[in-house]
Amino acid sequence: MAIELKMPALSPTMEEGTLAKWFVKEGDEVSSGDILAEIETDKATMEFEAVDEGVISKILVAEGTDEVPVGTVIAEMTGEDEESDSSPAPARADKPKAEPVAAPVTAETAPPAPVSRASDPAIPDGTAMTSLTVREALRDAMAEEMRKDETVFVMGEEVAEYQGAYKVTQGLLDEFGAKRVIDTPITEHGFAGIGAGAAMGGLKPVVEFMTFNFAMQAIDHIINSAAKTNYMSGGQMRCPIVFRGPNGAASRVGAQHSQNYGPWYAGVPGLIVIAPYDAADAKGLLKAAIQSPDPVVFLENELIYGRSFDVPQIDDYTLPIGKARIMRDGSDVTIVSYSIGVGLALEAADVLADEGIDAEVIDLRTLRPLDSETILKSLAKTNRLVVAEEGWPTCSISSEIIALCMEQGFDDLDAPVLRVTNEDVPLPYAANLEKAALIDSAKIIEAVKKVCYVK
């Protein structure tokens, strides 16, 4: 069987080149490693070597020919082609070879019915509630998981001796010791990598960033290593790790310290992104995050660390990842939000109720995977939707939800979906400007009235 010699590619992006010179002629015997020809591109010259021994039977492209496309058969050789691809490709994969037929956009292409999501655990009547701050709830979640599973450990700047820059790790050093509550050198990039390696090594790290603003230098480990380890290794390796810390604007800390990274991380396959609002969710979801075999980005908010909420006194209170929560039932309009925005949306809903508008408020809780089912169900009920997000408007969670409503809820919409976000500027330090740039409940009320066509 003749071996076809094809125009080689120097690099995966090369499309064509010049066949500069043949070093062999028809009838020549060649052996493995012999240089057969010289190929030129605008960037480089490469020698084309014989892989196998045989006789050059035909030269099909003459030397000096320009613009020879990669893959063109340039010569033929006699001999056994040991690497001929005789095996059939998997049948399923053969499909694209068939002639495409016109695909009318019909109901056939409509998305399949949503796969049902998990639900929150039932809270039995009479369950006692404890009032906890979000800070305490997060600490309790870590402590409970650390008691249960000795592979769980916490590390970050100031997490041990100082009890956390925002005191979230209060008491952990005393209970678990310096081996499991580790103060690190000041390099977010470094300890994100250390954490990823420790996770590959069988531990379950909880990496605290003093704030997510400092985690930008760690994003390579989060996205390029943690999020892809399972996939790239063909399912052989895991990187179970939680990256947590405050996210979003705090108060008067300037442009570099007031950013919401929710949309950044929520765009990355392989990551789970959680951004809770109240203490019960903070606890139940942080426990779920630590138990997860997948890498999790857990976004907290400095301004709500000190707020108190009821937390059910249930052993091992763990919540499902990827499930939104209806914070307030309503029938006229839906306000979707997450993290600190939920508080503002609830404030807005109270004011709106007084004006006769009954708003439903949804807390997304998890940003990836996004609970599209709950959003669409609510939209089907209210037919009007506003997204409230403490963050920039462009390429945001708001944009994503608007796209979702367009793609999958178009027929339910009685008004365009509006987003209420921060202004599209770095957050100013000056108090008046900072206030003006941030989202507030008045802006949410205004948007809700717009979609309800109420003055």
Partner: protein, 424 residues
């Protein structure tokens, strides 16, 4: 005061941009490269404090002398069988690299990277480790897989991205991964494996295990922040890790001067962190073995991490996408003062009387045949070609432990659309 400066009689500031000594066509003369005498370097006890052994970060540990004999305190005194295994593994690796590189030239795969001339830095190093020790290689340490017995056919399956590819067509050719052989998923982003290896080693120590970690990067990527963060953590927590720097003189077309080689050695990076540092003749397989063995014992006995600079030469192109004749002199390879690791070990074994030129010739043929068989076997599972080897639905797998609903919905929808566009 600013105004005063203009009045001073100062010469203008000048900027130094490093320039390699030789460019294409230049005659190569390495006589100014300081090559220490083999056997002259002291071998400190593995418990020596880094401050008491700084000389070894600037010296060059060498075992094989000009007469091909193993000399001095670093001679690991390996038996004939171990040395023959080392030679055979390096020869097999070289044959594999040569053939797979050519496969790329014939369109059987899109990309390949050879380790020609640097075989000792992975083969001899891996042989000095325990098979259970975790390796965090860069992209040029396929020698570790050869030492640990990964089948060549599995490597070719990955390179061809065919239906037997263990990584399911997810990764660039040569970015292997093997949990079974303690070989992590090769990262295409430089030096991210450094802090990960240190983190892995810290985890091992934290669990009270006795496995250590070893990591490799090139001299060029010591400039990455990851490198420095890793050394900081390794020093601070006394992590059981061996941090290898393969100084092969070239980072694609940037010579080592762009990473700081004009100022100091790469091993000296360790000195700044208070980490034991060894600078080794990377083309001397016995020196590489001995240094790794020393560092492994040190790590395993809780005496701390070690930085090892392997002084070697990248004898071939960076990758199949590279043409080194455009930026360096072709004579460099021939003139490299530390020779070739396979040739040196071969001559040593001949000198010992356990090997011959004829046996080496037979071995080389045998190695080529073995690669041919592996490639042929792998090609039965498909070559790159049309690239339709991976079942469509696998695209959505392994993104998360359990496929979330949005991916299941995407997968279902994509499947539906395929049915409409390409009815079966």
């Amino acid at each position: 005061m600013a105004n005063d400066i203009s009045n001073r009689n100062l010469s203008p500031l000048s900027l130094h941009v490093p320039e390699p000594k030789f460019r294409p066509g230049d005659a190569v003369d390495y006589s100014d490269v300081e090559i220490q005498k083999a056997g002259d370097q002291a071998r400190p006890d593995v418990s020596t404090k880094p401050a008491a052994m700084r000389d070894l970060a600037y010296d060059l540990i060498r075992v094989l002398d000009d007469d091909h004999k193993a000399v001095g305190p670093w001679d690991p005194k390996l038996d004939d069988d171990t040395l023959l295994k080392m030679l055979k593994t390096m020869a097999q690796l070289r044959a594999f690299d040569d053939r797979l590189h050519r496969q790329q030239r014939q369109g059987k795969t899109s990309f390949y990277m050879k380790s020609t001339g640097e075989e000792a830095t992975s083969v001899a190093a891996a042989m000095a480790l325990d098979a259970e020790d975790m390796c965090f290689p860069s992209y040029r340490q396929q020698g570790i897989l050869f030492v640990r017995g990964y089948p060549m056919v599995d490597m070719v399956n990955q390179i061809f991205s065919n239906k037997a590819d263990k990584l399911k067509g997810r990764q660039l050719p040569i970015m292997y991964s093997s949990t079974r052989l303690n070989f992590f998923t090769v990262s295409g982003n430089l030096t991210t494996q450094y802090p990960q290896a240190v983190g892995w080693a810290m985890a091992s120590a934290s669990k009270g295990d006795n496995r250590i970690a070893a990591v490799w990067c090139g001299e060029g990527s010591t400039a990455e922040g990851d490198f420095h963060a890793a050394l900081t953590f390794a020093a601070v927590y006394n992590a059981p890790v061996i941090m290898n720097i393969v100084n092969n003189q070239w980072a694609i077309s940037s010579f080592s001067g762009f990473a700081g080689a004009e100022r100091t050695t790469f091993a000296a990076r360790g000195v700044g962190y208070g980490i034991a540092a060894l600078r080794v003749d990377g083309n001397d397989p016995l020196a590489v073995y001995a240094a790794t063995q020393w560092a492994a014992e040190r790590a395993r006995t809780n005496q701390g991490p070690t930085v090892i600079e392997h002084f070697t030469y990248r004898a071939d192109a960076h990758s199949t996408s590279d043409d080194p004749t455009a930026y360096r002199s072709a004579q460099e390879r021939e003139e490299w003062p530390l020779g070739d690791p396979i040739m040196r070990l071969k001559r040593h074994l001949i000198t010992r009387g356990v090997w011959s030129v004829e046996q080496q010739e037979a071995l080389d043929v045998e190695c080529v045949e073995a690669v041919k068989v592996a490639v042929k076997e792998a090609a039965k599972n498909g070559i790159l070609g049309h690239g339709l080897h991976q079942p469509f639905e696998t695209m959505f797998q392994d993104v998360f432990e359990e496929m979330p609903w949005h991916l299941r919905e995407q997968a279902d929808q994509a499947d539906k659309e395929r049915d409409i566009k390409w009815p079966s």
